[in-house]
């Protein structure tokens, strides 16, 4: 079982590189194939099924002994098969949870017993037995070796004329066939993932050339390759760039933009660094995002292109379809060539197998590569046929972009082929090469029934008037649109473009129906991208102006779903969506003069809610944050904060929290008196709302005035009391974050102490996720700047967990922990505990941490430790290599590190012996170098701490120099 995997490890390193199998469609497909092979083994090869493996396959099973029935001796925790080998050992034995299997017959039975958990068992078996062939056949047949030619195996057999060897050999063959089959199978998966090919690119460029030239009507002024030489594989990129998947480079001059130098690569199309002037060399570096094809790229870059393209569209798409049809053929050919090339080495084996095992079903399934040529021609013929058919109906063709028609064309062809296949009764081989347009469909050849039902509904959307359309839309809504099958089915039958086209009509009912569906299916990330690719966003943005409130709401909600990725957010902004969304927030304006009173009716509130929801999604991009602010969004958001509708407040606060990362927002939030409302909503019942409010406070409380405002509006008490509920970790992280930032102000710390927050914080030092820990420790670090709190933390037993956290790896956490430990170390009594827990050594070893922030923070923390430890000098010397490490840090080029290390050296040097050691390590020249370049600047720094450290350092240098002088003369 699973012999192939030893081979397959070569081609799916990603899937099999780790110890467990990843759950990918490819792996699943492979496992299914293996299961099929093993399950049918007992019937197809009864003789071989009895063969006893050299070593048992062992793994941990999830099966319960009670699942085994007749043919097995079952006890509570063990199972033994009645079938035994010649020594009387059972061929299958289980002692929960371990299972040992020693023949294919038993493996087949086991899979039958496993029923639904088949896949799991197979996976567990393969994960546990990385080289099953060796276990089954013995070391001699190890397939991991490269020389697994038949000759070798034949040699073996002729040498020892043992009947078992013959079976062994047969098994070897069978497993090898499986191996090849799996290779072929997975190749198909892999070949689907390549998106652009030289032929496709070439066709696109030629077609665009056809529509380029002087004049207003053309799509481009010019489009040219940078190189005239075309390699035999269709690429024009130099070979060393082809390695990176690059196909060719084109210079494009659109009407309205400067000449663009573009790289076409297998991953897509992007802007490169352009031609360097002198030598005509190309700067290959990527300068833009990657687009899926040339047309999409140009549409994004040139408005004129986009405009003229849509004018040409009808004419163009016809043309494109023809090209598309031609494109299909070479694609197939390429896939065929790939498939042929790879298993070529195994082919001789294969042909031999056919002679030896004529009966075997397997061989038949492995044949198709011989028939490629014929099927390709067949296809060409068919696509031509389709073309003429399409031309007949030409008048009815919908307007749609080329990439879209591609998929639809494939679908049309697919169904056409189905019919033809039935008629001509063509062989099963053509089934093998027929590749459905989408991988997900390939995994399960039987399409779910929803697929056909949805296809039918889409037909009505296309060919019906508004009555039929509304009916079809309403019944489509009845499908479980949260399910991926349905979402993709709508897309794959071409429903997405129809739904988007409907948004462009005057029919309000159709628009509402369409948006209701788009809103649901746009939860799927793929669909989001498709909607953007099909140009859905500008249309939805336009709908935001509609007088129909429900329509506006639906459009905004859909935008909120779609704008979850960067390109979509940018599209919303570029089409003026941000301004329109901000306008939705204006309740008073929405309901006209009637609602001049601040009372908005429920539907206006809903409009505002949807607008805020969309802005929340959009606000993840910096440019959008700016756009929201410029559109006057902040006062409107502030106004909405006064409502009591939780479902409005959440997106509003969410948006504010997102935007508060910008300084301009923080200032505005202060000015618009937003803090007051954030504080108020901390006491809301809704956990999500509390979380976002705390998060917003966390973002804003970097500012001192804001921290004071939080206190003045009574925000500290609710924050402290929220600490007691630790089940919701997201909220806890936000709350502790807010507390951390607020406790930067001393007055706030006093309040927190009053509310017993410090004790609670100490309690949170264990068993919390890192996001929470960072904030808790940060807050404690701030609190411990005061004597009372240091005592408090010690009395609550906070030192031990803090020191324990010094061994972590999270950078942010380490920075905070070192700071907190340093703050505690100011207290001699706490210092004793730290010393006892070996905290100083831990701090010292953090000087080796790769992150400069951690290094610096650790060095700062060492200062009070050295000051307050008993026998500090002895302690420091006890760290082997510690002093050298510190001195060497003076070579760092990070100012923060330098400053902190200088401070540490100041303290270290107070001990005579240590001073001698660091002198030996060459501290003086290093320091004097710093004194010239850096320390003098630092003495003039506005940061008092830095000033002090730098000045202390200079005085130390002087003392050091004096000491050395003295030593020289005595």
């Amino acid at each position: 079982m699973g012999v192939a995997l030893t081979r397959s490890a070569q081609w799916t390193a990603a899937g099999y590189g780790t110890r467990t199998l990843e759950i990918t469609p490819l792996n699943e497909a492979i496992l299914k194939e293996i299961i099929m092979f093993v399950e049918s083994f007992i019937y197809k090869h009864p003789q071989e099924a009895k063969y006893v493996f050299v070593e048992p396959l062992e793994w941990k099973t999830n099966l319960d002994p009670s699942a085994f029935e007749s043919g097995y001796i079952v006890s509570e925790t063990t199972v033994k098969s009645e079938e035994v080998d010649k020594d009387g050992q059972p061929l299958l034995s289980v002692s929960v949870p371990h299972i040992k299997v020693r023949s294919f017959g038993q493996l087949s039975r086991l899979l039958l017993i496993a029923k639904d958990t088949k896949l799991k068992e197979a996976q567990a078996c393969i994960e546990a037995n990385r080289d099953p062939v060796t276990k089954i056949l013995g070391l001699d047949y190890n397939t991991k070796k490269e020389d697994t030619s038949v000759v070798n195996i034949l040699d073996k057999i002729t040498k020892d004329e043992d009947p078992e060897s013959e079976i062994k050999m047969k098994l070897g063959m069978l497993l090898k066939q499986l191996d090849l089959h799996l290779l072929n199978h997975s190749l198909k998966h892999i070949s689907l993932e390549i998106c652009l090919k030289p032929t496709i690119v070439k066709n696109d460029i030629e077609l665009l050339k056809h529509f380029s030239g002087k004049g207003e009507q053309t799509v481009l002024e010019s489009i040219d390759y940078t190189s005239d030489y075309e390699f035999s594989n269709g690429c024009r990129a130099p070979p060393w760039r082809q390695i990176h998947g690059e196909i060719c480079y084109v210079l494009v001059k659109p009407h309205d933009v400067e000449t663009l130098c573009i790289t076409c690569s297998a991953e897509g199309v992007f802007l490169n660094g352009g031609k360097t002037d002198d030598e005509g060399e190309i700067n290959y570096e990527r300068k833009s995002e990657i687009y899926k094809d040339l047309v999409t790229f140009l549409k994004e870059k040139s408005a004129k292109f986009s405009e003229n393209m849509s004018k040409q569209d009808v004419r163009f798409s016809g043309e494109w379809k023809k090209k598309e049809a031609l494109k299909e053929a070479p694609k197939k050919e390429e896939a065929a060539a790939l498939q042929k090339a790879l298993p070529a080495s195994g082919k001789s084996v294969l042909e031999k197998n056919q002679i030896n095992f004529g009966k075997s079903q397997m061989t038949k399934r492995l044949e198709p590569s011989l028939n490629w040529k014929a099927t390709v021609d067949f296809k060409k013929h068919k696509s031509l046929l389709r073309d003429t058919q399409e031309e007949k109906h030409g008048g009815r063709l919908e307007r749609s972009g080329p990439p879209v028609s591609h998929r639809r064309a494939q679908l049309v062809r697919k169904s056409a082929e189905k019919i033809e296949e039935i008629i001509s009764g063509s062989s099963s081989e053509s089934e093998e090469d027929e590749e459905p347009p989408d991988h997900r469909q390939e995994a399960n050849v039987d399409l779910p029934s929803e697929y056909w039902q949805i296809q039918k509904l889409v037909k009505y959307l296309k060919g019906g008037n508004q009555i039929a359309t509304v009916i079809a839309l309403c019944s489509m809504k009845d499908f479980n649109l949260a399910q991926e099958t349905c979402q993709l089915a709508i897309r794959d039958v071409g429903g997405l473009e129809v739904l988007i086209n409907l948004l462009d009509t005057d029919e309000v009912k159709c628009k509402i129906g369409s948006l209701k569906i788009l809103k649901e299916i746009s939860h799927n990330p793929q669909i989001r991208r498709n909607i953007v690719d099909l140009g859905g966003l500008p249309i939805m943005v336009n709908i935001l102006d509609s007088p129909h409130k429900s329509l506006k709401c639906l459009a905004a909600e859909t935008i909120a779903n779609v704008a979850k990725f960067r390109r979509a957010r940018r599209a919303v902004r570029r089409h003026g969506g941000i301004t329109k969304l901000v306008a939705l927030l204006d309740c008073a304006q929405n309901s006209g003069e009637l609602a001049q009173s601040s009372l908005c009716d429920a539907r206006d509130v809903e409009v505002a809610r949807c607008g805020a929801l969309a802005l929340w999604s959009c606000s993840k991009s910096y440019m959008n944050k700016e756009a929201i602010r410029k559109a006057g969004g902040i006062p409107l958001l502030a106004g909405l904060l006064k409502t009591s509708h939780e479902n409005v407040l959440i997106p509003v606060v969410g948006t504010l929290q997102e935007c508060a990362s910008e300084e301009s927002y923080r200032a505005a939030i202060k000015a618009e008196r937003i803090i007051e409302n954030l504080v108020k909503n901390l006491s809301s019942e809704n956990e999500q709302l509390q979380e976002h409010c705390a998060m917003a406070i966390y973002q804003c409380a970097e500012d001192e005035e804001t921290r004071d405002l939080v206190r003045l509006h009574g925000g500290l008490k609710p924050l402290a009391s929220l600490l007691n509920n630790t089940d919701n970790k997201e909220r806890l992280a936000a709350v502790t974050g807010a507390i951390w930032k607020c406790s930067i102000s001393k007055e706030n710390v006093t309040k927190f102490r009053e509310y017993k927050a410090i004790e609670t914080l100490v309690g949170l030092l264990t068993d919390q996720p890192e996001e929470v820990l960072v904030n808790v420790v940060g807050a404690l670090g701030e609190c411990c700047q005061e004597y009372e709190n240091r005592v408090l933390v010690r009395k609550c037993g906070g030192i031990q967990p803090l020191v324990n956290l010094l061994v972590g790896i999270n950078q942010a956490l380490l920075v905070n922990v070192t700071k907190a430990v340093g703050a505690c170390a100011v207290e001699p009594e706490s210092m004793m505990i730290i010393d006892r827990l070996d905290g100083v050594r831990l701090l010292w070893s953090l000087l080796k941490n790769p992150h400069p922030h951690v290094k610096a923070s650790a060095a700062w923390a060492l200062c009070p430790c050295i000051q307050n430890a008993k026998d500090a000098g002895e302690m420091v010397r006890s760290f082997v290599g510690g002093l050298e490490l510190v001195v060497n840090l003076l070579k760092s080029d990070n100012k923060e590190v330098l400053a902190s290390v200088c401070a540490a050296i100041t303290n270290i040097a107070k001990d005579q012996e240590n001073l001698a050691v660091i002198t030996d390590h060459g501290v003086v020249p290093l320091l004097s170098k710093l004194a010239n370049t850096l320390l003098l600047d630092m003495v003039g720094s506005p940061d008092e701490e830095l000033q002090e450290a730098a000045a202390g350092c200079i005085s130390n240098i002087r003392r050091l120099a004096l000491a050395i002088e003295k030593a020289r003369y005595t």
Binding site: R396, K456, L457, K459, Y460, G463, G464, N465, Q466, I467, A468, T469, V470, I471, A472, L473, C474, S475, K477, D478, T505, D506, E507, K509, C510, I512, G513
Partner: protein
């Protein structure tokens, strides 16, 4: 009284010339297909007619009118008395224009359809017939004053429940209280683009009928009862006018009210 009216009518006529929507009149052609948008030509006709209608009401018997207003106002709650009066005057003049027969004072089907088309922007002949039958409660093939006001109350001010009932009445024709499969077929038969053959189109419509029944026939008896209809529409408001538009669009209603109740608004200033 007459003088009072006359005065206002004069101002009305002057003002009407610069009505906000009058400038957009007549530039667009009624388009068929998916955007069966009521064109503005119809509106203009309706507007002209109403103007003339209200002039004609001057000759009406004041006493009879008052009585009628009283009795109708008792049953139709959606309108104020003054509004009912306006509607009645309008009705009278519409009837007068459409050659009255003495024994059967009211609007016949053709006259009513003309109104539906020109004032409320409806386009589908079959549906307009059905709306006529829904207005004509006493089945005398003629809409009398009371039916007129009642019908309009649903059109202009109907609650969701009233509209629901009205639409259902429009859609079931033979009076058995159900919308049958055949009726649905009849109403949907023009809803698909002509495909290559008639059979194919028929087949497509049959399937559409099945889809509709699957969606709306909750008790699976092969026809849509009022309970079915109500449940389906409450679940999805888009299904209110599922078999074709039979209620005027909001914009048409607003325009109509602005016009019909114009002198109430003017006199209140």
């Amino acid at each position: 009284m007459a003088a009072y009216f006359f005065n206002h009518l004069r101002t009305f006529c002057v003002v009407a010339g610069v009505l906000p929507w009058s400038h957009s009149v007549g530039h667009r052609v009624v388009n068929s297909g998916i955007s069966g948008n009521p064109g503005h030509i119809g509106l203009e006709l309706g507007y002209l007619r109403i103007v003339r209608c209200v002039e004609a009401t001057l000759g009406m018997d004041q006493k009879t009118l008052k009585k009628l207003v009283e009795s109708i106002s008792n049953t139709v709650k959606n309108f104020k008395k003054s509004e009912v009066e306006c509607l009645l005057r309008l009705f009278h003049s519409l009837v007068e224009r459409a050659n009255v027969r003495l024994n059967n004072f009211g609007l016949d089907r053709n006259a009513f359809r003309a109104i539906l088309h020109s004032i409320f922007g409806m386009t589908d002949d079959m549906l307009m017939n059905r709306v006529f039958f829904a207005f004509d409660k006493d089945n005398d093939n003629c809409i009398n004053a009371k039916e007129w006001v009642k019908g309009l109350s649903v059109f202009l001010r109907g609650t969701f429940e009233e509209k629901l009932k009205f639409c259902f009445e429009v859609y079931y024709l033979n009076g058995d209280g159900y919308i049958s499969r055949e009726e649905i077929f009849d109403m949907l038969k023009n809803s698909l683009c002509q495909q290559s053959s008639e059979e194919e189109t028929d087949e497509g419509i049959k399937e559409l009928v099945d889809i509709t029944l699957k969606k709306m026939d909750y008790d699976n008896d092969g026809k849509i009862s009022f309970a079915d209809f109500e449940k389906a529409v409450k679940e999805e408001r888009l299904l209110l006018e599922v078999f074709g538009p039979c209620l005027p669009e909001a914009k048409n209603c607003i325009d109509f009210e602005a016009l019909a109740f114009r002198h109430i608004l003017t006199s209140s200033f």
